[in-house]
């Protein structure tokens, strides 16, 4: 499996949603696709899954354009909020999916439905937001496509269903690794799963690298305000926060010997994300982190 985006641009009228995006997915890994609301994540996934056409550039799946490429469509599964199930019930949709995707495992899908207590007879239009998400993810986990695109998979799910979904996702990935793209705002819930991170900001590709590399680029120190300030001078600070007499600063660079009175911790993906895509002016940045 190899999916590559070349100079991908999407405009809706005057509005440039994605601007000259280039990246490649070629390994059985879990990729995180992150970005703020309106960054262009869903548009990107919809283009990869052949729902909409790019304005410029192209997307190649195993060397061939995905556009109107039936062979590629059978190997890419997109689960997104706008997936249209008409007025059908889950049972019928499962049947349709089993014909559309060559490796679709109907038995497994029905088993998942039972574990999530999804009503198979109920029209999907009558399902709650959470159960619509449940249906999308059980279809996605049963499709066994080489490329799986999950757009906000846990939208509206309760905590129990979210945990169950992550568990099944890991089990499925662990048994047969495929390329999974996970787009979510709940970064804290998935950060241990992601091997690679792609961040889109204002339609541009900001980051495309391994989670390990990304997180090793920075660290946090906290302690007495004056001591933190002394330590930070001359360093590249990406965020700071003061609570009473305690100050925490996020610093880019490798961790040099901090005095023992300062606490040194790693950056979480969520912290790093907020700092990277926050576009407020620096004085407003102070209160975050």
């Amino acid at each position: 499996m190899n999916l590559s985006c070349h100079n991908l641009t999407k405009r809706f009228g005057e509005n440039i949603v994605l601007n000259d995006i280039n990246f490649t997915l070629d390994q059985p890994k879990i990729y995180g696709l992150l970005g703020r609301n309106g960054a262009g994540k869903t548009t990107l996934l919809r283009m990869i899954a052949n729902y909409i056409q790019p304005t410029q550039g192209e997307i190649l799946f195993d060397g061939k354009s995905v556009w109107e490429n039936e062979q590629a469509q059978r190997q890419i599964f997109l689960a997104t909020e706008s997936s249209c199930f008409f007025d059908l019930n889950a049972e019928k949709i499962i049947r349709i999916m089993s014909k559309a995707y060559p490796n679709f495992n109907t038995e497994q899908c029905l088993h998942y439905a039972k574990r999530f207590e999804l009503d198979l007879k109920k029209s999907t239009t009558k399902l709650s937001t959470g159960y619509k998400s449940v249906l999308r993810v059980i279809l996605a986990l049963s499709a066994h496509t080489p490329l799986l695109l999950l757009d906000e998979p846990t939208l509206g799910m309760d905590a129990f269903h979210r945990e169950l979904f992550y568990k099944l996702l890991i089990e499925s990935y662990s048994e047969s690794p495929s390329c999974i793209v996970l787009s979510t705002h709940l970064i804290g819930e998935v950060e241990g799963l992601l091997e690679n991170v792609i961040i889109i900001d204002h339609g541009k590709l900001l980051i495309d690298e391994s989670a390990e590399n990304l997180l090793s680029q920075g660290y946090c120190v906290s302690g007495k305000i004056s001591e933190v300030d002394d330590y930070c001078s001359g360093k590249h600070i990406i965020g700071e926060n003061t609570v009473g007499g305690l100050k925490t600063a996020a610093i880019m660079g490798t961790h040099e010997d901090a005095p023992a009175s300062l606490d040194v911790t790693g950056l979480s993906l969520q912290q790093l994300f907020v700092q990277l895509v926050g576009n407020e002016n620096p004085s407003e940045k102070e209160t975050r982190l």
Partner: protein
């Protein structure tokens, strides 16, 4: 075992240390089976590749071994090996922070020695 995503310690090392702790405290006895990669990954919500990396450190150190198609087991003599390894780290990991904290709290060295004696006798 608890995974701390904000720790300076990489997750695969936390997996290694967590399992070592559990072997040392007897949760997994020698020749007993430890959780599979999939179980570890799904319990702690970490990538299976990360769990594997942690386990492989234990395999390389002879603490656990793989039985093809069955799973992973604690090696005979693992507890002794771990104890020796941990003893080497004891001073840095426990004694130095203890002394540092005692200084911060103005605990007199004599008091500290007494407390250690008391701790030993309890």
């Amino acid at each position: 075992m608890k995974i701390d995503f904000q720790s300076q310690t990489p997750i695969f090392l936390q997996v290694q240390q967590g399992l070592e702790d559990e072997i040392l405290s007897g949760i997994y006895g020698e020749e007993e089976q430890i959780p599979s990669i999939t179980e570890l990954a799904s319990s702690y919500k970490i990538n299976p590749a990360t769990a594997l990396k942690g386990i492989n450190l234990l395999v390389d150190a002879g603490i656990v071994y793989k039985r093809r198609g069955i799973g992973m087991f604690v090696a005979a003599g693992a507890v002794q090996k771990l104890k020796e390894k941990r003893q080497e780290d004891f001073f840095k990991q426990y004694v130095l922070p203890l002394v540092q904290e005692a200084k911060r709290l103005n605990i007199e060295p004599q008091k500290l020695r007494e407390w250690i004696e008391r701790g030993l006798s309890e």
